[in-house]
Symmetry: C2
Subunit: 192 residues, 2 copies
Amino acid sequence: MTPDHRREQLLELGVRLLSTRPLEELSIETLAEEAGISRGLLYHYFGNKQDFHTAVVQRAADDLFARTAPTGDGGPLEQLAGSLARYVDYVTENYQGYVSLIRGAAGGHEELRRIYEDSRAALTDRLFETPVAREAAQFGLTDTPAVRLLVRGWSSFVEEVVVEWVRDPRGLTRDELLTLLSGSLPGILQAG
Amino acid sequence: MTPDHRREQLLELGVRLLSTRPLEELSIETLAEEAGISRGLLYHYFGNKQDFHTAVVQRAADDLFARTAPTGDGGPLEQLAGSLARYVDYVTENYQGYVSLIRGAAGGHEELRRIYEDSRAALTDRLFETPVAREAAQFGLTDTPAVRLLVRGWSSFVEEVVVEWVRDPRGLTRDELLTLLSGSLPGILQAG
């Protein structure tokens, strides 16, 4: 196995470990134990704990981005609903780590904040860049600074609702949640 | 002046100082200098820096709550618009301190987090408790766990949009912003 390939494997293991624990509990020691290799070798791959965390979080953000990519099937609202469904499943499967990232990013950890902001910008920019974006203008998704501001706010709405729903579903089924989430973007954009 | 009255005055000064700087730059030294009294006397009133910060932040949250109270004039949407206008003005006037509170609360500072969560719950609970709440059901504001979840998400939307707008208005006037914000709650609630 090449060093790059080995590093990839370790990153994937790090992302998997992060899914069930907060970032501050993800140590190089834990990874070494799970991977069955020495701490020294891990320091060789990742430098220090901070670099290790940054690499794992960046990989987790890339996974989220890839996983929620529009499939290209259906109209803009169907594609949005599909991406949201995969976002909900991602948060469900990675709850502990995901919440710790949001908090870490908000709490002034600069490198986490950069990854979080870049990731959120990528997820929302995509709404304006898909082949169906022109069609999406029918529900108010035109590319103006004001609409981009509202979409940014909408992504905070989605994040808050989904994280809270995973913690306590309040009797809402996944399908009911998805209906509410998909409708909320046109609802917000058409309100003005 | 009684000690209670004196403490009140110092708290108000702390809140005023917090409006133009992040919480971590609000020190007992700064307050002592501005108030023209000794650090020793301030420690007498506030115990330690942590207790001082908690007291100032709690007071700032109480101010926000009082300032955004519905006036009782007009229908539910007019009252909502009035409260939102006063929220926007509050964030505009207290930008530095307000942003530092949101970040501190999200970043795992437990006492700040409690004040922030209580404050947000109080602000949104009020939507279900005003005399016009029954009338508000016409735009979907019924008191169910699902609607409460959406309203919680909506408050994240409003916070994000307003904080970003104050930082960079993107050509949106205050009135345009208020139209978008007031319409967004019915827009979200009627989407499902």
